[in-house]
């Protein structure tokens, strides 16, 4: 909680710290009449001391009011955020599932085949993908699978031409098809970290005595690997979940832009071009809250999985 307060302060300061007439920035290129200028000033509280501004902002934020968008005036920022949230969650959730699901599986595979060709090639492939800019990979995949092979759609979340009478199943399928390319892009550039963590963790655990003891009892190798070794090698990967969220969120800004996916990342990117500060601030806060939540979830996971943490 305290961390969140710090974040809010930071973000607020950053915004107000920037040089130039705030009103000028707020109005952008549009012509503003004197009344509009006064109204804007009053609305955004610019003519008040910083402390008052900040207090107003915080009290407003706690009540769910994050101000009003400039670009989409007078739509409230919170409404905008909420409208984009489902798409972001869908993409983000899918990517997390894929990244950690495949990342863990491949990491285990690497550990088991340590030093052999499969291990080395998986490392090389994942490192190469990790080095690619997500937006570039997205473009390449879009070009190849969408345009060249005409297999998958490359824009937005669903087909705008789909009739209103289309069945529920068709709709879901449509969204899934649109989800594939952006999700695969984001997963590809992130998976290296999970694979590496899992591999390292499992290799360390496999060296421990209780693994040898389990084998000595005649347990099947699969049981030794998964029930005994992997169960103990999960912990660093759980920790990674908390660390990874900020990076995932950042990556989504680019990928959503490339694929025109209507999520928070795309909103933030557009808002920057339009100099829509309330929206940028709002997205930054929401996204930070998500990150903090992720950390809490990771802690909860530790608590559930590790009895030593439970009894500490």
């Amino acid at each position: 909680m305290l961390t969140f307060l710090v974040i809010t302060v930071l973000l607020f300061i950053l915004m107000r710290l920037t040089p130039g007439d705030p009103l000028q920035r707020l109005a952008g290129d549009r012509q503003v009449s004197a009344e509009e200028a006064a109204a804007l000033r009053q609305r955004f509280g610019i003519d008040q001391p910083i402390a008052t501004q900040f207090r107003a902002f915080v009290t407003g934020a706690l009540a769910g009011d994050l101000g009003v968008s400039i670009e989409h005036y007078p739509m409230p920022v919170s409404t905008l955020l909420v409208s984009r949230l489902p798409a972001s969650l869908l993409l983000g959730g899918t990517v997390l599932l894929l990244t950690f699901g495949f990342g863990i599986a491949l990491g285990v595979l690497q550990a088991v085949h340590r030093g052999r060709r499969l291990d080395r090639w998986l490392t090389r492939a994942s490192l190469t993908l990790y080095a690619m800019p997500s937006f570039w990979l997205g473009l390449v995949l879009a070009w190849y699978f969408g345009i060249r092979l005409h297999l998958l759609p490359v824009a937005q979340m669903h087909d705008p031409l789909l009739g209103a009478d289309a069945s529920w199943l068709v709709r879901v399928g449509d969204v899934v098809r649109h989800l594939i390319l952006p999700a695969v892009t984001l997963t590809a550039v992130s998976i290296a970290a999970v694979m590496h963590y899992q591999r390292t963790a499992l290799l360390e655990v496999l060296r421990l005595d209780f693994v040898l003891a389990a084998r000595a009892r005649g347990l099947p190798e699969r049981q030794v690997l998964w029930r005994h070794a992997w169960r103990n090698a999960l912990f660093p990967v759980v920790g990674l979940f908390g660390l990874w969220l900020p990076i995932l969120v950042s990556g989504s800004v680019f990928v959503e832009q490339v694929f025109n996916w209507p999520g928070l990342g795309h909103l933030a990117a557009d808002a920057v071009s339009a100099r829509d500060y309330p929206v940028i601030l709002g997205t930054a806060m929401l996204v930070s809250a998500q990150v903090l939540l992720g950390g809490v979830l990771a802690d909860l996971a530790y608590y559930t999985l590790d009895p030593r943490v439970r009894h500490a």
Binding site: L208, L212, R215, R217, G218, L219, R227, P307
Partner: protein, 325 residues
């Protein structure tokens, strides 16, 4: 009486950066049913590796050299397939390790781990296995076994964890229990308790025990026979009484002399001169000769075979050829 376990000319090699290492280099011994054989030696002599070899648990890049033989009541352990090997591990031969904290899985309860062992080799239901786990906890002398069933390893003391390990090992009624330094990580008082427990279990179940240790002190009065290991080989082997009464190999004598005694006159401790050689470069001739206070000229060139010294008492030393010292 046919031996339960027979080991013949066991050799283990490791490929290391500084050349091939031969940590176990021709070890032969046997264990009879219900017998307690103590395998004694300093760290680095190869005794733990010998124990692991019995269950074919040598970690790579270690390898058992072809020509070695390990027979469990006639069955060649080294020729077994994976499934048959698993049926021996835990079922006919059980093993307990030195450090009970790291030998138990920290995320599973005691009941889980014992039941898993029970169900590994017998078709029983989970509840039946849990009942069996409780019985085993009682058998190994854990107080309040019902509560302890759902404890995690980190909630128990070292001595109790070792008892749990023994319980796990006993779950499938093994005929031979390998105990690799079972008391080294424990307090002295607890050590005695664990050793008594092992004695009791041996008597009650007719189970043979291969006790591996560096501490000659715990061997007296408990083991039926003792084998002393040095530099990858057995240098002396005898019944316990015989070994303590008439230690013959200079290394054995050195070991006994370096054990501090509470009773008797206080004299200076006699360490054995020199250090243990590296397994990549065993000395030529008799491996102990560089440190031996009684070495003869031929010891530097000729490696002594196992020679008889008395009734069921053998040693690898040229002094045996010239008569007992």
């Amino acid at each position: 009486m046919t031996a339960l376990l027979e080991v013949e000319d066991l050799r283990i090699t490791f490929a290391t950066r500084s050349g091939t290492s031969h940590p176990v280099d021709g070890v032969s011994f046997s264990v009879a049913r219900g017998e307690l054989l103590a395998l004694v030696g300093e760290s680095g002599c190869g005794k733990s590796l010998t124990a692991l070899a019995l269950l074919r648990l040598i970690p790579p890049p270690g390898q058992i050299v072809p020509g070695s033989a390990i027979r469990l009541e006639g069955t060649d352990v080294l020729a077994l397939g994976a499934a048959e090997l698993r049926s021996i591990r835990g079922r006919r031969i059980g093993m307990i390790f030195q450090d009970p904290m790291t030998s138990l899985n920290p995320v599973f309860t005691v009941a889980d781990q014992i039941s898993e062992s029970v169900r590994a080799h017998q078709r029983v239901s989970k509840s039946a296995a849990r009942v069996r786990a409780l019985e085993l906890l009682q058998e190994v002398g854990i107080p309040d076994p019902v509560e302890r069933l759902d404890n995690y390893p980190h909630q128990m003391s070292g001595g109790m964890r070792q008892r749990v390990m023994i319980a796990i090992a006993l779950a499938s009624e093994p005929e031979l229990l390998i105990a690799d330094e079972p008391t080294t990580a424990l307090d002295v008082t607890v050590q005695a308790q664990i050793l008594e427990l092992l004695d009791r279990l041996r008597a009650a179940r007719g189970m043979a025990i291969l006790l591996i240790t560096h501490d000659l002190g715990i061997v007296a009065g408990r083991a039926d026979r003792v084998a002393v290991m040095y530099a990858g080989r057995l240098v002396e082997e005898a019944t316990t009484a015989e070994l303590f009464a008439r230690p013959s190999h200079p290394y054995t004598k050195g070991l006994l002399a370096s054990v501090p005694r509470i009773t008797g006159a206080v004299t200076r401790l006699q360490p054995i001169a020199g250090t243990v050689p590296a397994p990549t470069a065993w000395p030529a001739g008799c491996r102990f000769h560089p440190r031996c206070p009684a070495s003869l000229p031929r010891c530097a060139d000729d490696d002594p075979p196992a020679l008889a010294v008395g009734d069921s008492h053998r040693m690898r030393c040229w002094l045996a050829a010239s008569g007992p010292s």
